[in-house]
Symmetry: D4
Subunit: 217 residues, 8 copies
């Protein structure tokens, strides 16, 4: 008596963002059904938060899988060569998984991306080396766990708005991302907005909506 998702085929028209499948907690058979349905319709699809076990179980399907970002895409179109660009900045190596989810999702929604990794504030010179590049960007997704100091520091250095993605990287008081989230929300540097912990997809969706504004003018 299992029921399946009634897929929201008109979502993109209504909200500007194609519906994606959040894989966590879903059964393999459910995922197979959704994917095959899209294959049959020649529709593109984005799946996020796949576990390694789920990725193994979908190996027989024609998906483009990103192990680091735990994503899979079907028939994902390349972003136009003149599409708007969002910069994705990470504080540490361990934040790369969430950053990749944001990158794959942003590409899927038609944005080009530039990923700048490992510029955490504990070594401020690394951030400064990338400042000229960062200053040129019109929108930045910043991905950081632990104490999340990157968000405030970056906001004091660039004029672009920053979408903060706190990650669950950390331990002790910083476990589960709550300190990084607090830093994203509780700082005084203006221009920082925030999405849920580890929500790379949400950051990409917000970026797509923000940059589409710019395009539409």
């Amino acid at each position: 008596m299992e029921r399946h998702t009634i897929f929201d085929w008109s979502r993109k028209a209504r909200t500007g963002i194609p519906e994606a499948v959040f894989a966590e907690g879903k059964s393999l058979s459910h995922l197979h059904d959704v994917i095959r349905d899209h294959i049959d319709r020649n529709a593109s699809l984005l799946i996020t938060r796949l576990t390694p076990t789920q990725i193994d179980g979908l190996r027989d399907l024609p998906l483009s899988v990103d192990d680091l970002g735990r994503t899979a895409t079907l028939e994902a179109p390349e972003p136009d060569h003149d599409a708007p660009v969002v910069a994705i900045v990470t504080a540490g190596t361990s934040d790369l998984s969430v950053a990749r989810e944001a990158e794959v999702a942003a590409n899927f929604m038609g944005l080009r991306t530039e990923l700048i990794a490992d510029v955490g504030v504990a070594g401020l010179w690394r951030l400064e080396a990338h400042l000229p590049a960062l200053t040129a960007h019109r929108l930045i997704i910043a991905v950081a766990g632990m104490e999340g100091a990157l968000f405030s520091v970056l906001a004091g250095l660039v004029t672009a708005p920053i979408i903060a993605v706190p990650t669950s990287v950390g331990y002790g008081v910083a476990k589960d991302g709550s300190v990084a989230l607090g830093s994203a929300l509780g700082g005084c540097a203006p221009g920082v907005v925030c999405v849920n912990i580890d929500n790379g997809f949400g950051a990409a969706a917000a970026a797509a909506k923000i940059l589409n504004i710019a395009q539409a003018l």
Copy 2:
């Protein structure tokens, strides 16, 4: 031996946002000094989170005070008649104070604003009555306390990105705004980003940065 803020006169050039004074916890004499300094320089100034007592203590100064929004401005220029517009939507009457802070701050930064009050989801027909107007906006600041259901509902109805401002309106489990904050971050409707509880100024600053992108293209 009291020390005063070294005012950051070049902030706007560097980050695109003029520095504002957060009045909470500051002494009247400190506020007087900062304001007179700006009067002497013919500089504009925005002050937020003024208590009624502080507002009374500043009555002798040529400030433009908004009691509801607890803000004061000095030499605030009118937004250009063709400046970009941000919609500000509130769930309930009690959220108006934070919404006014956002409105005054947005105007101060050069944006025009349209305030749409009292469209909480408990009376969904009120929201629907404003939907045509909302759909036309390119950016929406949504202000809601209690359970914050407005954020998700709105994000499912419009294509514009939404800056959620949770407010500390509520009691019991919803006291201090934590449930509204959770709803802003924890929903699955894409396109919602969030600022700190009651941070109307921060939402305006993010809006100014986002819409300036659009302008600059």
Copy 3:
């Protein structure tokens, strides 16, 4: 020296609700003993929160198992064809497990059920499509995780009382169901009452008691 539950054979007479077995944390041999005892007495029985391993270990017994809802029943009578009906509404696919627990339990207690899945507020049109059906119901169990906006929205649209069941579906700030619980309790739409996170059984028991009132008049 293991001890067993002294089963409460007269519970239904006293409180109107048959005792059920909460399987989580119980050993297989304990469950076997309870079930066989009921088989010997030709008694009906409801078991909830079975793990997949426990379900496997009970395959040899004449139980009616619902894998999705993680329930098993023994000699469960069909609800009368004119029994009162409770609607069970879910926000997302991932909430279906808890909704099924509620449905199986409600049926076991003699209620008929109508399950309406996937009407989360991020796609408000899905909810609106079901509104005529929902408006006709006299009691609604609403099952939602993440930000739990469904509870307030629904309460603003229908006159029936709503039993909210927050689910542990979600991540980051919404992990473990705390935000959905906050939304169920902290909203201002009157007519919403709440049970524990993931407590589909409890919602069904309350529904049975409420609708039995109606029957008894």
Copy 4:
């Protein structure tokens, strides 16, 4: 530039519950405006969570004020002599304020009420003395702070459904009502549903909706 609530005159028709005004945090002038508006229309009105200062400031208006319950009503009709009855039970003397809010609100919505005070479980004989009366009721609102043991105990003794209202009565770990709320939600006695801490109005609204079901059959 103060804005006022657009009163929801059709709310009762739509949801079965008349809109009430939550006074906490509202200015006296705002309350005056809303009340005079209702006087002009000969409309009835319920105001909850009034502070002593607000009550003093409204003395000149023809309101029926309940100091203990912090409520005021305007043109509240008496419940019909054969209207359904809800029992309201409190654990301690300090819970009476919230119980009175529930009672006034229930009366305002057309229910008769029976208030049974001070039957906390620390003196179980007090509860038992009222058991015959309680058993006869079809719906019970239970109001308790501190550890909230009343909810579970009552649910094990009666067949009626119970609407639990945790109160913020308590100190130390029980401060702000969180333990009582936990007990309302976390117990295993079936038939208990819960509203927000101190939300007597919400309990009354749910009771009105539940008992109207029964009436409508």
Copy 5:
């Protein structure tokens, strides 16, 4: 370079309680060394919080293992036939593991015990059936998870002091025992004292100290 516990051989003389080994997180080799050391000295020993894996790994040693209570003892003397008695009461079947830890530990310290299981308040008649026996006891250890209502109810019925042991039995808001702990501490029935969640050993140690007072008079 592993270091081992310097066993506190004189602890009992100093504090009245023999030192016990808390097995959680300790390696099998470490446990073996400690146990053999006691065997060599003909010393008695109590080990608590053994995992099933640890229990398997110690099968070759002459220990008296209690699987339900997750304890093992070495050379545990029988309590004297006229030793003081502590009653151990549990709310539900799932609380039995912690109750057994308390029982084994109390016996090890020289107390006799009487275990009364499954008298949770959801079925108050079960508690009342045992009341004559309970009233006769001079000290009661009460073990309960979920909402922990047993502590307050019991304290209102008997004159003996009660040592409350909240257990981590429960889910949703009651997960990890925090609600039961809150109920143990936040109730108003005098005579309840509390130990840490799941700390059966600690309850037994306190009981031994309290009853030794009585003995020593």
Copy 6:
């Protein structure tokens, strides 16, 4: 329509502890009524948690008031000269208020007390100076705020059971007594039991019940 407490005149017979009045949040007129009722009956009475304002308002009544402990008693009998003794130990000067509540309550229940103040572990020599006296006691109430290290240290030094009373003395992470409570429950020194934060009365009640055991043998 205010209702008053139905006083529990037979409580002492039933539970061994006379009922006391917790004054916090109660109106002066309510307190006056309860006190006069006891004066009329020549009954003794204990009132705890009086605010300075309440104490002022009761000056006309023949009460024995303790300002530091915020208690008042009526017709409190002196403990017998050979009554059992409980030691009351405080970590710091700021814990004296709670300690006095415990002392007054213990005296009221018939125990003699010895108060040993200011023996916090930051100056361990102060505790050691009192060790001979403490070792002679059969039961100790330990009162400590901040980090609550006194509980564990004391339990390692004496054989008597210890009733820990965490206090709300402290700031930052230790605000409201949660760290002291955690230390009382989370330590490994056996023989420590705990009551709610600031609950001096509860500690006295438990002491009276425990020492009455001893007396009764």
Copy 7:
């Protein structure tokens, strides 16, 4: 029956730090007694966390009061001109009160201090302007509220160890200093240690102990 602190006259000899009086929650008469006692003995004294009301009440005594830092000293010796120096750095104007407490306390313990205010990371150029001075210091006390990003940034720039003092400056998620505390503890920049929220005195005491090491070599 009020009791007074037994002052710990030999504390400095034992622990290297003179005992100070924490004024919060202490009565004026108690403070007067302690101060006069020190005047009579020609002893020096430090009092911290004075409220404005307490400061007013002590005006008649020969104290050296710092209103901003809420401290008072008696007979405080000047630090030697070649005493070790600790730098005290604050993120914002609102952190100055806690920084002054640290400065007064450090001076009282014999250290010289250099206060560098308003170098928060939102304007990183302000921090960089002071970097040469900061790099020359051997120990830094960093004082910051809100998101506390200063701690990590500073630790990545200097070789000196940093004592972080989170302050309760902030609102929403950053209220009460919990986010700043999390950032002080949860960052990955090595060399940061932390004291309690708002504990300027504790930071000074640790600095005195650390620099005394250096002196003693």
Copy 8:
């Protein structure tokens, strides 16, 4: 498309501490790459928080592994025989893992160490036995879980500054180290500073910075 850490070869010159690799959550192939890179350069390296599985996977590399401390080092130089010494004190056997991480890291940074284990305050005589040795030390790292009373007790006994490392050893309220952390921060014994829960490496890094001050004089 996996990216690797850009190793910070100049970190030691800049901040005085060599960069270490935090292994938790990193893939084996990533760790292999980093290690081989260091082997090729004849560079020394410290790796912390290795899981047993990771340790197994690195067996083929010429690392010096400490299973208890979960660390590995490459080409770690021996501390000079006259290098400064830091004492490392643990409360219990279960805290030894974190203490070993601190010891290995301190040695790696050039400090000599003296490890004194199992001196928890529940057996104060054990601590006192080591007091002469402890008093001679100029800096102490104290490692304790559960209620963390060791920090305050030690600070009252010695003049050296103390770096507190709370550990996640404990259960119930003390689970995950939060009570030990609260005790480290919330005590009143001056001279205690704190690092994150389980952060032995951070304590060592702070110790190295502090003692290098002393050396540099």
